[in-house]
């Protein structure tokens, strides 16, 4: 169980990025965090990853307070952040130094196969496309078999086709060992395709504004009416988080609202 309790974060420059954020995420649950730019989504993930520490409150995984990076918590950033001096295989195996060489090679090969890049093992990061690089970053995190995987707008730098592809791929990978996923996104569709629960955040200071359960069966049909309904609920919550009025013509209003997050 990942629990975020009454967490606040004030940066050195006095920016109050988060205030009283509480959230409990069950093992294997997929939570999407949405909200406008600057409402503290990245800050929240950095606190959970242990890269930064909260000013108030605590983050804990199974009772362990997180104050520094934890072996059971992995993170994928918006940029792949591959180490350019290591090959694809070297990057994926970066965290596996405690294993024997043969075992390490085996684990890396299997993970690369899982992300569909088995034939790229000996390439340099500069030789990869954006989508491939992000898959390597995913593999690098997943090969550690994390209990919690944090993703900060992992696909937002990719084109629409690659993005949808990788969303499905992420769910596929998730099914292997069902880690807890916390996905920050500004793409409402991404949130609804991926998540069991969408957390809508409210800016300045960052707070949890609403939590919306998405209990649609997987795989989710992006064209279905139920999907559309869920999307409208999330968009409406986003609108309300910014004090926008909701008119009768909800759909058009929601679409304009959506443009704000993209």
């Amino acid at each position: 169980m990942l629990s975020i309790a009454h967490v606040g974060k004030t940066y050195d420059n006095a920016v109050r990025a988060l205030d009283g954020v509480s959230l409990a995420v069950a093992p294997g649950e997929i939570v999407a965090v949405v909200g406008g730019s600057g409402c503290g989504k990245s800050t929240l993930l950095r606190l959970v990853s242990g890269l930064d520490n909260p000013s108030q409150g605590t983050v804990a995984l199974d009772g362990d307070t997180i104050m520094s990076p934890h072996e059971k918590i992995g993170i994928v950033f918006q940029e792949p952040r591959l180490l350019p001096w290591l090959t694809v295989a070297g990057n994926v195996g970066f965290g596996l130094t405690s294993l024997l060489k043969a075992e390490r090679r085996e684990r890396v090969a299997r993970q690369l196969d899982r992300v569909g890049l088995a034939d790229k093992a000996n390439m340099w990061p500069r030789e990869l496309s954006g989508g491939q690089a992000q898959r390597v970053a995913l593999a690098r995190a997943l090969v550690m078999r994390p209990a919690v995987l944090l993703l900060d707008e992992p696909f937002s730098a990719l084109d629409a086709f690659t993005r949808v592809d990788l969303q499905d791929h992420l769910l596929d990978l998730w099914a292997d060992s069902k880690p807890t996923l916390v996905v920050v996104t500004h793409d409402v569709d991404e949130a609804i395709v991926l998540a069991d629960r969408v957390v809508v955040m409210h800016p300045q200071p960052g707070r949890v504004f609403a939590e919306i359960e998405i209990d649609l069966p997987r795989p989710r049909d992006r064209q279905s009416a139920a999907y559309d309904f869920a999307k409208r609920r999330v968009l409406a919550a986003l609108d309300r988080s910014l004090n926008r009025k909701i008119t009768d013509d909800r759909e058009t209003k929601s679409e304009t609202g959506a443009a704000m997050w993209w």
Binding site: P69, L83, W85, L86, N122, M123
Partner: protein, 272 residues
Amino acid sequence: MTVTEPALATARQPRSFAHPASLALGLLLPVGLALAWELAVRAGLSDGRLVPPPSRIWDTLAELASTGELQRHTLATVLRVAAGFGLGVVAGTLAGAITGYSALMRGLLDPTLQALRAIPSIAWVPLFILWLGIFESSKITLIAVGVFFPVYLGVMGAVLSVDRKIVEVGRVFRLSGPAMVWRILLPAVLPAYVIALRSGLGLGWMFVVAAELLGASEGLGYLLVDGQQLGKPAQIVAAIVVFAVIGKTTDWMLTSAAAPFLRWEDRYGARA
């Protein structure tokens, strides 16, 4: 590995075409001039006393080599550069790494070092001679000072500009301090380090000439002075040619030694 072949092959292709052609173009002027001068002297248009033609320079080199003098002087100079370069690199790397890593140490050391850098290094010579005598120590120290500054600045700048995002990857994987240095910081600064070493080496060769001109009983710089005092311009030009050749050779050795570690580099002209 086979997968990477096509990419590398296309990347190298322009070089294999451009290289010989640009080499030939670059050689046209110096070779043409040398040839013209050789012919002019042979035709009796000039006696070539002050500006010796290539054949006479070659004869001088051959003669110096046959007596073993060329080897002795070259060795003396190379050893000085090696010692000075080694010292300068060690000191520059340590100082650069410490000041790059710690803001406190940077505040403490950098202003002083920058002030010292502003002094033309040759100005130290009289002091070094007083302190260390006229023999090897003062010469090697002068070379080391010349090498120190580009290496120091290069390493400090490189450490300071290591991408925070990449350091965070190391933190996420919970690297210890030494592992962070060895697995993240070192590879990240390597390209800039090689550039710093190359400029350090270049200055090392510059300063060895200065040191040897100011008084030496052997070394290529001594050949220069000797050639001037005895009126042997061919010997001066011969020594200059040797300087050029070994200067270029050592630079090439440095880049080739580093090349296997920099194959990953992704920058314009990285393969040129």
